[in-house]
Symmetry: C2
């Protein structure tokens, strides 16, 4: 198509509210427009990209026997009552009533709808296994939408649901899906996506993995080992803490520590190291406000996901008043009030001569040894892993922490939804059983933005050809020059006739610099510049957006060269897909 007809404006200035590059470039390039808080419209350029991403996903889902369906965006609350999530999910689930005061929700995920759809169909074991998927809009009422398409409230998602008669069969299929996901990211030009073990969160179930595109602007922390294949989301990463033994052992002493409310204050006051201190972080159970006290080494942070999983119910940061059994700022594990539920983190195990609160306003203990002074202390893993920690897989002190964007996830759900929604089948022996489910998601818009984040320079995105809005971008400099125009027009037509997707910039009165800026913002992989100067040498200039190719090619050879170059760019991607098989 002609660039001057393309809907969407391109401009130079980075919008002030764009924190990350992909967001800024996709606004500057006329990819999308903000409609409301965390809500965007897609201009044609982005729509072309997301359509290609959807197509790749669709092909890979079909290849593992997925059958495409479509669930509604608006669901009756009854369905979510059945699963219990109408109550259990927070305010990111948008609840409202319709004209008849019937309670409805905007689907943020479709497990309930999936079970509802196949509940009657799949009543015999002979129907299993099967997988259904859809590509559909979802709404998640995020508290803090940010980073353009990375974290929005309304988004297009591919979500798939598989149903099995055994855990083994689920695992087999899960592995297939794991491979299909890798193929999807490879085909979309981001083979650098890594897989990490993750916490299942509100989805329920057992094992789950996230697909992470590593980038410093990612909002997730990923724990990786530099020596082995270990990787996990921070929320799920195990802390294999081992404290070095120190020879000296001191006696337990209660010391006045006036105005020392934080562990840092205390350590500074006592001139002791924060690594020999014990920090208290206090929560309360949502249900009855029981205090939950998490103790970690002074330099560690509580991993609330792990704590929550251990406690087994929802908790929130505590509000401690003077009447409570806890002395805020002076809480320690020794002789703490029995009303509180206490968790000791592994980071405290084997520590000697610890500084900790004395559970008395204005006092701390020194010389605490938890194994010696507490009765059968139990150490659990409730802390966030740190750089240099021990790898739970290979045992070396080689843990490193990176940032990433989650571009996909796969979950083993087990029977959480089939049990709560009473979906059963009859097994070979005529007995009723609950099917075992897996679910598999990819956010389409977020994937587009992530690819942009991973592949861009200061001038614009560098789209992989498989998802680029067009394959070839022709700039006709001086379209008012007849010869130049004829050469460019002819090439445009020939490429289009050959089924190659071309965006053609034949605007007159636009300076070359502006044309190239626009081309950079559109990020099309192959660029052809037709200009009077090039034509003096009977040539056109052909470059790639990633600057790996820059050639002057004779006009007569241009078509063949472009076609070959295009094919080569596809092969480069497909080779990686083949390799990983």
């Amino acid at each position: 198509m002609k660039l001057d007809k393309l809907i969407g404006s391109r401009f130079k200035e980075r919008p002030a509210d764009c924190v990350i590059d992909s967001h800024a470039l996709m606004i500057r390039g006329g990819y999308m427009k903000n409609v409301g808080n965390g809500i965007y419209s897609e201009f044609p350029v982005l729509k072309r990209i997301t359509a290609k991403i959807e197509n790749i996903i669709r092909e890979e889902m079909d290849a593992i026997d997925g059958q495409e369906v479509l669930f509604p965006v608006v669901l009756p609350a009854d369905l979510w009552d059945e699963s219990g999530r109408y109550e259990s999910v927070g305010s990111e689930l948008l609840r409202f009533t319709d004209r008849n005061k019937a309670r409805m929700v905007l689907a943020m995920t479709h497990e309930e709808a999936a079970v509802q759809l196949v509940r009657e169909y799949a009543q015999s074991y002979t129907k299993y296994p099967f997988m259904i998927y859809q590509i559909q809009r979802k709404f998640r009422d995020e508290a803090r939408p940010r980073a353009g398409m990375i974290r929005v409230r309304e988004f297009t998602m591919k979500d798939a649901y598989s149903f099995h008669t055994s855990q083994e069969d689920l695992e087999n299929y899960y592995d297939k899906c794991y491979v299909a996901y890798n193929r999807i990211f490879q085909r979309a030009g981001i083979p650098e996506v890594v897989t990490v073990a993750s916490d299942s969160g509100m989805m329920g179930g057992n094992l789950s993995h996230e697909y992470m595109l590593l980038t410093p602007v990612g909002e997730d922390s990923i724990v990786l080992c530099t020596e082995c294949d270990y990787s996990a989301n921070m929320e799920a990463a195990e802390n294999k803490m081992v404290n070095e033994e120190t020879g000296t052992t001191q006696e337990l002493q209660c010391i006045e520590t006036p105005d020392c409310k934080t562990i840092e204050d205390v350590c500074a006051f006592l001139k002791s190291d924060v690594t020999s201190s014990c920090k208290a972080v206090v929560y309360q159970k949502n249900f009855d406000d029981t205090f939950v006290v998490a103790f970690v080494r002074g330099d560690y942070e509580v991993n609330e996901t792990k704590l929550r999983n251990l406690v087994g119910e929802e908790i929130h940061t505590a509000e401690i008043t003077e009447d409570d059994c806890l002395a805020a700022g002076y809480i320690g594990p020794y002789q703490i009030a029995k009303e509180a539920e206490v968790y000791l983190d592994v980071s405290l195990k084997g520590l000697n001569n610890v500084v900790a609160g004395a559970n008395k306003e204005g006092y701390h203990y020194t010389g605490l040894n938890l194994e010696r002074d507490l009765e059968n202390p139990e150490f659990v893993d409730i802390s966030k892993v740190q750089e240099g920690n021990v790898c739970p897989c290979c045992g070396k002190k080689t843990i490193t922490i990176k940032r990433g964007i989650e571009v996909g996830n796969i979950f083993q759900l087990g029977t959480k939804y089939t049990k709560s929604m009473n979906m059963t089948y009859t097994d070979e022996n005529g007995r009723p059983q609950y099917p075992i489910m897996g679910c598999y998601g990819i956010g389409v818009g977020r994937m587009a933005a992530s690819i942009c984040e991973a592949h861009h320079d200061e001038y614009g995105p560098i789209w992989p050809i498989s998802i680029a809005p067009w394959e070839v971008h022709i700039c006709c400099l001086r379209a008012d020059d007849e010869e130049t125009k004829v050469v460019a027009d002819t090439l445009y037509k020939k490429l289009q006739d050959a089924g190659i997707e071309v965006i053609y910039d034949d605007r007159t009165g636009v300076r070359p610099g502006a044309m190239f800026s626009d081309a950079d913002l559109l990020g099309v992989p192959v660029r052809v510049v037709v200009s009077p100067r090039n034509l003096k040498e009977n040539s056109v200039e052909i470059t790639t957006r990633d600057k790996s190719v820059k050639e002057m090619i004779a006009v007569d050879d241009a078509f063949d060269y472009i076609k070959d170059l295009k094919d080569k760019l596809y092969s480069r991607i497909n080779e990686k897909v083949e390799e990983s098989k």
Copy 2:
């Protein structure tokens, strides 16, 4: 694909809640499942059909220079405040608040979003004309969802918006779109769709057309002329009423008509013909409850759309109390209270010796002659057209009325949205102007259901090949017979390798009758039956779902025959598309 893997159950019994055939067949055939009031999930069979419909629509929209975009389903209420529709649209617009108490709506149409998207882009006349479209979910909180996919609350719709700098340019584009729409319906196998002029309703604007599939179960009344091309939606159809002159003229007389509250009662009591009577239908303005009295000939009905357009504001059926200026049941145009706004319908023009209410409890006039007895009576068109009325186009008494389902519509919106939302461009003379808009919708799911309604028999849908879930359906009767299975398997593979879409029923232990019932419900155009009995003659049986073909074909020729037959079915459709060019 193999039928025994296809997700969705098929069954025999017509569900009790299905009023129309297409609804019943699409439930019985495993096409869709009800999730809530007017909300459905699509099983794979329907998803395949809607995907094909979407593809046809997309190709035709692209062919008239449409650029695909994507608007959100959830919109901030502010946008609808701008256009004024947040207030003016009734409760079919679902309004709610998000977690931050921000007012939101579920988009039931996207004019506001379209203007918002291009408002900055299209500030110069050089950008015009252009058209953007999307295929996206919408939600309309219908009071009475019914008839399966025909009238639902959540649906997939293609909606397109064009922008122009002159009415003439809009009209040119409107004509193009008119043709594109005809092509879409022809390609989808429903060339019988008719176009009717319609009322623009809440969309605003001037000229509009609806595309109607004629069927007795349709919920719209369509006014057609049997002699010329005239067609209109009942709401928009002009009543070209001419009353025959009757020679005799009587005097106006006030007569006691006890207990005659309806015009039928009065005519029976006075032994006069209802066609010489004047009926009053009373409304009130929503704004201030002013009475609006519509007078029509006794045997005519008020067309509320036409009346509303004349009144120029929203009205509702009146509630008349004893204290009001009107005598309910005895209201007539002669000496009616001045407080009421009065409209006389054309059906009363030229009538002599009319019976009408005397505006006095228990009394009617006879011998009323409106032209004689009222001061400068004005007759306006506020009645519903009837069978045998005069065609406004050719002038013959050849009006007929049919039922239809609206499968698409096109509107000339004018500047309703660009003005209210303050979208301007600078014209050639540097002056600001409001762009002129058109909008163009097609409901995808409704189209699928309509095609089923128009093309089915008692056993199932008869899908046109262009949108059928598969092109060929192979039934292997007695798949436990080795030779039969090999022939069927081979044919299945060969057809699939040739890119033909095949659904293959190789279930064992299923009786032929059940297999054929399933095939009927899936409605695939070409059916191949491979059975031991046919193979005795070294043949397979090939039929079409519409029963126009039924042949025994030698096994060796089957592939070629099927391929040709498939091509022929496509050509039949495409010929019609070509003809209409």
